[in-house]
């Protein structure tokens, strides 16, 4: 372990430094996100992920946001374990009928102000599962959605970009399903 920790001291960080020379988009993102997050919530935004019936693909990429390359927390964004601690709900999956109640309860347990992000193609309109007897469809059919992020699954960078878009949007009045 000592050797690994020592390497960590002498090697340059993997975290993609910003601005990234080959990606002006992400560089711009980090600067804007920083300013917006400061303005909104004192540089802190808590995200709660809810799987409303996804295939688990979106969860893999949401988890990737926390690895050393993306290091979500440097933007002041972090995942929390309870909706009661959250500002943002990241909802994945076509909403299954069996998850409708749990999703509604999670939404109601989240304090205002709150934002809902529908993550992935299925969360937008039910995707390939839209026609099923067991599926309601997109997240917006159950709770109000502020932002959609496309992809099957969205790449971690798309998720970061989406979070920026959310921060740039004017605050919406709180509402209940």
């Amino acid at each position: 372990m000592r050797r690994l920790l020592f390497q960590g001291l002498v090697r340059s960080p993997l975290t993609e430094r910003l601005p990234v020379p080959d990606d002006p988009e992400l560089a711009a993102l980090s600067r804007k996100l920083d300013a917006a997050a400061k303005r909104r919530l004192g540089r802190s935004l808590s995200i709660r992920a809810i799987d409303a019936g996804s295939c688990n693909g979106c969860e893999l990429e949401i988890n990737a946001l926390s690895n050393a390359f993306y290091d979500l927390e440097r933007f002041g964004l972090k995942f929390v374990a309870s909706p009661r601690h959250a500002d943002v709900l990241f909802v994945t999956g076509p909403v299954t009928k069996n998850m409708r109640e749990a999703l509604g309860r999670t939404y109601r347990a989240t304090p205002d102000p709150k934002w809902v992000v529908a993550v992935g193609d299925c969360a937008i309109d039910g995707g390939l599962f839209a026609e099923s007897y067991a599926v309601i469809g997109g997240v917006a059919e159950v709770i109000p959605v502020d932002l959609i992020i496309r992809g099957c699954p969205p790449r971690p960078r798309d998720l970061l970009n989406g979070l920026l878009a959310l921060m740039e949007q004017p605050r919406r009045a709180a509402s209940s399903p």
Binding site: A52, N67, S82, A134
Partner: protein
């Protein structure tokens, strides 16, 4: 008494259809029960149990001879003899058959709904549809005793994971009983499959369980090719195996990191997540998608490798071969971490055998089975690899099986890149009716797909059996006597799929 072989029992039944590569036989209720006794006595392994509007089917694996077959029991009356009452691994599949088709397993010990939570607006959606009844509360199994308390967890969990409910009964810190309650991710995949053309059906198959998208698309495509009586070109087989091994690597690394993190050792997660990200980026560079979705189709693969892409994959191998041994050493030399993993969540080898548990769960508890070796589908018949097996069955054993499998996958990828044959990567399909079955080793274990195609090669019926069907129930057994705080650790070491088994 000598057990009759699989073929001896079901050869008395009439061979039906033209199922490839393994036969399908019609059996009567007596033979159906004889087979169940074969499961109970350990002569065969139940590899799948599923329904159809007027029949029930099961897939059997004869462990000794390596034979595989499907047995079909017509049940026009809507009743069939319960297998689950003799052989517990069949209980959940029977509950699912009852929910989806309405067929009643006579003599079943447990007929509580499994997938149907009373929310669909319809009962028996794949059989004779009935209007939904008012939902009644789910009756969890009773637990009685002084000082027992219950803890309800889920379906929304604290981590970024799939939905499911766990009902713990604990005595102080010790878990006395865990009962799983799933179905939250049920999306009606089998009904959606009906009538789909093959290209769309392969996409849907690739979305049954997102972390196994390659393995599912591969299993489905192999079943479709068997049904159509065609074979993919050699280069396609090799590219498919390359993707399957990359998927295995990425998932195993994610798991090893996450298990250690649940043991309070975040350093390992941080380092494993770096290697995992490198694999996803190389997969993206090689096949155009980080998870390699929709790259495998019936007839071959949709994308080919050029020298530049191969170079990127070789770079990945170099990085992993350099970085991974350091992490193995870290795991091996961190006593405080092993204090959590050694002895926790021990799965009895007898249970692993009884349930036919696939993947690292079975192989960490003495079940020496790997579909890549047992059925040696191409190109594994031309590749050299070992199948690691242990019998200590605890969290530590499941970590070590994954570590050894990472090493094997790295060696396999190197062989594939060295010997990749040339030629086409896809053949044209000629639409025809047919019936096919395929078993493929995903990272989590063996995936079974059974497929019937109509004349226009559209899906008539498709069943996709996730390995988790025969792994989830074992978590209930393995957790008994552990402390509640070790559940995340044990659960992660199993890493079963919710979406895959909820379908």
């Amino acid at each position: 008494m000598k057990m009759a072989s699989l073929i001896e029992i079901i050869a008395n039944g009439a061979k039906v259809g033209d199922q490839r590569p393994w036969p399908r036989f019609a059996v009567d209720a007596v033979q159906w029960q004889e087979i169940a006794e074969g499961f109970r006595d350990g002569a065969f392994v139940l590899s799948g149990l599923w329904g159809e509007a007027d029949a029930v089917h099961m897939a059997l694996l004869d462990g000794a001879s390596g034979e595989m077959a499907v047995a079909t029991l017509p049940c026009p009356s809507g009743h069939f003899p319960s297998i689950g009452s003799i052989h517990p691994p069949a209980i959940r599949p029977e509950r699912a058959i009852h929910d989806l088709f309405g067929h009643v397993p006579d003599g079943a010990l447990d007929l509580r709904p499994w997938l149907d939570h009373g929310c669909w607006g319809v009962r028996h959606p794949l059989g004779v549809r009935l209007p939904a009844e008012g939902g009644s509360p789910y009756a969890f199994l009773p637990t009685e005793g002084e000082g027992l308390h219950r803890i309800a967890v889920g379906p929304v969990h604290a981590g970024i994971i799939e939905p499911g409910h766990f009902r713990f009964t604990a005595n102080g810190e010790a878990i006395v009983r865990l009962e799983e309650r799933f179905g939250y991710a049920h999306k009606g995949v089998e009904s959606l499959m009906h009538g789909l053309p093959l290209d769309r059906a392969a996409k849907l198959a690739g979305r049954v369980s997102g972390d196994s998208t390659v393995a599912y698309a591969l299993t489905f495509s192999r079943a479709a090719e068997a049904a159509l009586g065609i074979d993919a070109p050699p280069r396609a087989h090799w590219l498919r195996a390359l993707m399957a091994e990359l998927e295995r690597l990425a998932n195993h690394l994610g798991d090893i990191g996450a298990i250690c993190n649940d043991g309070g050792f975040a350093l390992m997660l941080a380092h494993c997540a770096i290697l995992r990200e490198r694999i996803l980026r190389a997969s993206d560079a090689g096949f155009g998608h980080r998870l390699m979705r929709d790259a495998i189709v019936a007839g071959g693969v949709t994308t080919d490798l050029d020298p530049q892409r191969i170079f990127k994959l070789r770079q990945l191998l170099t990085e992993l071969n350099r970085g991974f041994p350091q992490l193995v050493e870290l795991y091996d030399n961190t006593a405080s971490l092993q204090d959590r993993t050694v002895g926790s969540g021990r799965l009895d080898p007898a249970l692993a055998r009884q349930f036919g548990a696939g993947g690292f769960i079975g192989r960490a508890s003495g079940r020496d089975f790997d579909a890549r070796r047992k059925f040696a589908y191409p190109p594994y018949d031309q590749l050299a690899f070992d199948v690691p097996v242990r019998d200590d069955g605890d969290v530590n054993a499941r970590v070590w099986i994954r570590i050894k499998e990472v090493e094997q996958s790295l060696a396999l990828i190197e062989q594939i890149l060295n010997d990749l044959p040339g030629g086409a990567v896809r053949v044209d399909l000629v639409p025809r009716a047919g019936e096919g079955v395929a078993l493929v080793e995903g990272f989590r274990g063996d995936i079974l797909v059974w497929l019937q195609l109509g004349d226009d090669a559209r899906v008539r019926r498709c069943h996709l059996r996730d390995p988790s069907w025969f792994q989830w129930p074992l978590l209930e057994a393995a957790i008994e006597g552990n402390i509640v705080a070790d559940f995340p650790l044990c659960n992660k070491s199993f890493n079963c799929s919710y979406s895959g088994s909820d379908l």
